[in-house]
Symmetry: C2
Subunit: 758 residues, 2 copies
């Protein structure tokens, strides 16, 4: 059997700097309060396992508060909660929709309770109160006291294996519960099937098949105990019960080594002495229990918890050290926590032998690349993948390869929209894989099969069954009467088409370049000069009559209103500004955006915009306007880009539990922070340009994979000195408000001279 | 990729005789009326695909008549029905419990109807009336006119591929429906999940996961059309609906290439000219859609329906020709139909590349053997597997290998009880794998790893969580107050233990031989001398007070009452007869069994014993008494064995739709016919002896796999001449009432001299 030692491969990267204990600046708790939707638990960079405490488990039947809670518990944990229900092995980081939460493990003592109980009455179930005072959250390490049981819980991971270490009191009734009913997004019972085998007195295997955000998703596991199980049993809550003959008189719920059903819980009993540790290795696989066991055997062939913790923390340290920054303590914390959050999703999606389940539900082997999943592309094409092209180009090339095998395996012959674990959930809009691919090809990151990549982009952009494309091809815009959120779709398709043109140009396909350059102008078709906004248009050519420039949903937009979305022409800012009345008028329009006062009613309509994530009417908590602060660069007032960027950095990011102004969205919010605090931002991925802004750090060294180092330094940097008097690259003053990818990749020194005044 | 050309391998067997059109004597319709539970459709010997018409589809919700119907439609087809709902690809042959019925295909024309409608009102759905006059059922060929649509339907198969040929009228609205909701045994919705992809305009793939008799069973498929699909769509009746964002405006039900859910139907539209044929190749796999497609590519790389039909019929002819018999027409029909029914189950359970899904839900590869499933062992250990040891020893050795990998993969570390498709359903009682294995080892059929086989038998026979074994080991019997059907279990365990002893003796393990020879006497522990019957005993040692010697269920027995089951000591008939009062008293007791009159109330209590399957109180429709007619050989009246055997052959087997006196039970009933009509029967598998009876054939030639031929001939044979005056082997008169396996395998001539008188 061919085993790819991925971790070992990664370790071959040059060590850029001595360890500097940069992980001390990372706080995984950041974003766990309210809107951030991050989780505090343990994971390694891009780890397939995210082992983290869940503070609530959703009921299996929908009730009145259900939808709110589904949103609130996207990552399973809310900082304000007082109880922990257990520790599950898979979590999205920062999403605005929920899934996962596979395989909840909870250690308890005393009377066996198999229901989680309620937050109001934790004594009614297995959950335990906890206190943040006992909580330690570090990269790849989480620890907390489970106060009800006096059990210290510690968690750490490798890429595919979670390791639990529970320190018990002396008891003859120690239990470890494996709740296979638990999950995040249990909407109307998402469990499709589950299967569990007790292979021997220290090994359990099984799987869980769910119909959640991912429609057809199965996760296999292997669970090893450091101490033999004394006895064990199950609770089977399945509505579907297996065939039983009357003559069959087995006790299938106690010490019977196999069970299957839709809604299962298992428990394992032990006796413990005071401070005795029971450890668990919990490996997962998208393919089989055999592969899960193989993952365990290869990644954790021992029971040394500290070693696993240390290995993972060294991995983190190595990734963090690729960007050595100096700044004030808050900035250091924000920055490295942001780096941390950008290296969680996408996640590795293959076993140590390279096998993974494809969209076609067959088992495939990744050859020559690491296969990734969890592509939240509507979010991450903007800054996260461009950040990878700068700091993680090899991984980003593998992500492009992962998108191309998705395309190969897709029944639709489309690139991913929002994909996870062999599922396309079609979440959000656009075909932004083409942006990621174009950016990677244009920047030289991906070159393996650029022609095929272009073919995949073209096929995706012309799939007439997809979300209004047939109309878009016919009319040059998506008509609102045929397909909702039509303005957002039209604008994003136009940008995506421009990306395809850039890709085609890069590989010499002039025909395609010309065709898609034309399509890239389609944003003009939804511009309403009478209002000065992009506006929903009907299939008869008229603009939609009812038009509320503040409304988002039901108004022709999604996750952004007319004020924010009308600015979404990142690929042709100058032309857009001309269309909108010229530089002066446009700058004033931007000023209004950042300064207007919104009525309270605005916030009632949307689940994921709060005043936390907003400045005036500029919404930073959602993505469509992430490039907007940089648009001042195309007016005569680029200093306002500098001013706004620093304002956003200050207002939207804090190293506190509630420190994120919106969902982190798989790292997009954090990637915005990293670029902006370094002083530049990729306004239009697919272009080799970065808009210059105003750095927030004192200085930075970027250790690039090509072996070169880019040093960013500032003069006169301070909180107040937000304006950039001049920028020089390797001693030469820049006369434009952008810098190119080559400029950065060639290394050298980029100096920003700061000032408190214009 | 390693491809095993299994069919080709089978073809390497020597051709024993010229083709004699023996398939003309096979009538697959036999047993399709009432109790036989056979199906009339197309299959090849041991084929994984059984492509057959279903005349009813059960509702998804349980109603009053449900349980009766579940039993009635074990094989999907009842001869008295007037409508066909469609053609599905998997069927058990002759079982007394139901499952399968995967992937119902139905061609229709005109208005698209996706529900099956009712038998009373076929116009309300897609089902069609049909007439037996248009029905042709042959080995590997089935044809019928679907009268509602004027479509001629024809079916044929290879091992893993079904081929449909539908001759349409001229219409612009021809449909082929794929109903993935349909199934046999839909108890409370057995569908767990289904998945379907339209790969291109002639290829569909997918799978169906069910929780039926098999608890966790998934069948994958690949479906190819001979003509491009014009358009297609789905009906999604799933209660669980996939996540949908409001902005998603796809039409996922029309021409959208992927769907998944619990309850799906698909349809494919075509235009046809008059008499245009649309053909379908439908391949299945237990592993993946990729393997299903591979099976199709390897087994049917063309569209020649006639060629597939002919190949399969040649396979049948070759198998039938291994036993060349002469007799009257009814006997010829009974005999070859019985041979046919013995070569359907077990079924091949691996793909052309050797892969199959194991009990542990992992994918395994069969190395050096063909893997089989569908082991109805409580039935088939008696005569079916012994028949294989005579006529199909290579296949039987592979079946033993299949049982041993089941043991390896079992969480319980047990041999199969009733297994199908990677599931142990624990149906019925005993651990009769040990009988099959012992018989194969004792007779020299299986020799690959007899020591491991013994270990597996011992582990199975000592699994204390299994069905009363802990009590049996402690008390020497299963106590009725602890475990129902306790007499049946005690008696069968005692026989099975004797089998283990024989196996141990064969391989020189005297310790095991002694231990299990002792256990084999446990039947004595439930003998009640005061009543002369085996009687339920309590854990305190007393016999159960209420004792009804006619009752079956709830009375200490299963599928047999005290009269029948008390005779179940096939391994020690002489000792049993001594226990029961000696030869004379015992013979009289047997006489009573065959002649007593049962009250009508007797038949009300049990679902699968009718007057069809009974002679006096002797129940031939169930298995526990199948050896009983041969017990007269151990009294002073062996002529009554001859008399009773001929009576049973005459009364219980007819070449008509209702011609079987009970469920064929995966070939056990038919195997009884074959042995008994040849003149001998394996009363105690695990022994090398066959009891001599009274042949019903005129003569027979058995072409054995060792190259030898056994000729059986009769003198003075007639319907009335049921008594055997003498038997001689190779000219030497036999002085005993049995013959040994070696005697048969050495070939030569066995002559029965028949007489009308004693």
């Amino acid at each position: 059997m061919r085993i790819l030692f991925l971790v070992a491969l990664c370790c071959c990267s040059p060590t850029y700097a001595q360890h500097k204990n940069l992980i001390q600046y990372v706080n995984p708790i950041v974003g766990t309060h309210r809107m951030g939707h991050t989780y505090p638990g343990a994971t390694v960079p891009f780890g397939a396992v995210q082992l983290s405490p869940d503070t609530e488990t959703l009921p299996y039947e929908v009730n009145a508060t259900y939808n709110k809670d589904v949103y609130k518990y996207c990552a399973g944990y809310q900082y304000s909660d007082k109880t922990i229900v257990g520790f599950s092995h898979t979590h999205f980081s920062g999403t605005g929709h929920s899934d996962l939460g596979d395989f909840l493990v909870m250690p308890t003592t005393g009377k066996l309770l198999l229901n989680p109980g309620t937050a109001a009455n934790p004594e009614s179930g297995y959950r335990s109160p906890f206190n943040h005072a006992t909580e330690i959250a570090q990269p790849n390490y989480y620890s907390v006291m489970l106060d009800k049981y006096n059990i210290k819980a510690e968690l750490t991971t490798t890429t595919r294996v979670g390791m639990h270490q529970y320190t018990f009191p002396a008891t003859d009734s120690a239990h470890i519960i494996l709740d296979m009913m638990h999950g995040i997004y249990n909407y109307a019972d998402k469990n499709v099937w589950s299967f569990l085998r007790v292979e021997n007195d220290t090994l359990v295997t099984g799987y869980r098949q769910t119909n959640g955000w991912g429609r057809t998703r199965t996760v296999y596991f292997a669970m090893a105990f450091s101490k033999p199980i004394a006895s064990y049993g199950y609770e089977n809550n399945s509505k579907k019960q297996v065939y039983r003959g009357f003559w069959r008189k087995f006790d299938e719920l106690h010490n019977f080594p196999e069970i299957a059903g839709t809604l299962l819980k298992a428990y394992f009993n032990f006796s413990t002495t005071a401070n005795e540790q029971i450890k668990i290795k919990f490996a997962i696989s998208p393919v089989s229990t055999r592969n899960a066991l193989l993952n365990m055997t290869i990644e954790v062939p021992h029971w040394n918890f500290e070693k696993i913790k240390q290995q993972g923390q060294e991995e983190w340290e190595k990734e963090l050290a690729k960007t050595e920054v100096q700044g004030d303590t808050e900035t250091m914390k924000n920055f490295y926590t942001a780096i941390y959050h950008t290296l969680i999703n996408p996640t590795v999606y293959m076993d140590v032998n390279g096998e993974y389940k494809g969209l076609d539900q067959n088992i495939h082997t990744a050859t020559g690349f690491t296969n990734y999943t969890t592509f939240s592309l509507w979010d991450t094409y903007r800054a996260l993948h461009p950040l990878y092209n700068l700091l993680q180009p090899r991984r980003n090339a593998d992500m492009v390869s992962s998108m191309l095998v998705h395309y190969d395996q897709s029944a639709h012959k489309m690139l991913p929209v929002w994909s996870n674990s062999a599922n396309e959930n079609w979440c959000m809009i656009g075909y932004h894989s083409v942006s990621v691919i174009a950016d990677a090809v244009v920047k030289g990151t991906y070159y393996a099969d650029a022609q095929k990549a272009l073919d995949a982009c073209i096929a995706t952009a012309n799939h007439k069954n997809y979300d209004g494309i047939a109309h878009y091809l016919q009319l040059g815009y998506v008509p609102e009467d045929k397909n909702r959120a039509s303005v957002s779709k039209t604008l994003e398709y136009a940008y995506d088409d421009w990306c395809i043109a850039q890709l085609a140009q890069k590989i010499g396909r002039t025909d395609i370049y010309n065709e898609y350059t034309k399509r890239a102008n389609n944003y003009q078709n939804v511009y309403d000069a009478s209002t000065g906004f992009m506006r929903p248009r009907m299939s008869d050519g008229s603009f939609k009559k009812d038009f509320d420039v503040l409304n988002t949903d039901e108004a022709g937009y999604i996750e952004g209103n007319a004020w924010n979305y009308s600015l979404y022409v990142p690929h042709q800012p100058a032309a857009m500004i001309a269309l909108m009345g010229g530089k002066k008028q446009f700058a004033a329009h931007l000023d209004s955006l950042f300064s207007m006062q919104l009525p309270d009613s605005y916030f009632a309509n949307t689940e994921d915009i709060s005043r936390d994530g907003i400045i005036g009417n500029y919404v930073h908590g959602n993505e469509p306007a992430h490039h907007v602060a940089y648009l001042y660069n195309y007016t005569n007032e680029p200093h306002k880009t500098q001013e706004r960027v620093r304002m956003i950095l200050n207002k939207m990011y804090h190293p506190t539990p509630g420190g994120l102004g919106g969902n982190d969205d798989c790292g997009q919010m954090s990637a915005w922070y990293i670029f902006s605090s370094l002083g530049f931002y990729p306004m239009a991925p697919g272009s080799d340009r970065y808009e210059l802004g105003s750095p927030a750090i004192q200085s930075a060294k970027l250790h690039l994979e090509n072996g070169k180092t880019l040093t960013i330094s500032t003069k006169n940097q301070s909180k107040k000195n937000v304006y950039v008097r001049s920028v020089s690259l390797n001693g030469t003053k820049l006369n434009q408000t952008y810098i190119t990818h080559n400029d950065l990749m060639n290394g050298g020194t980029l100096v920003f001279e700061m000032s408190a005044k214009l």
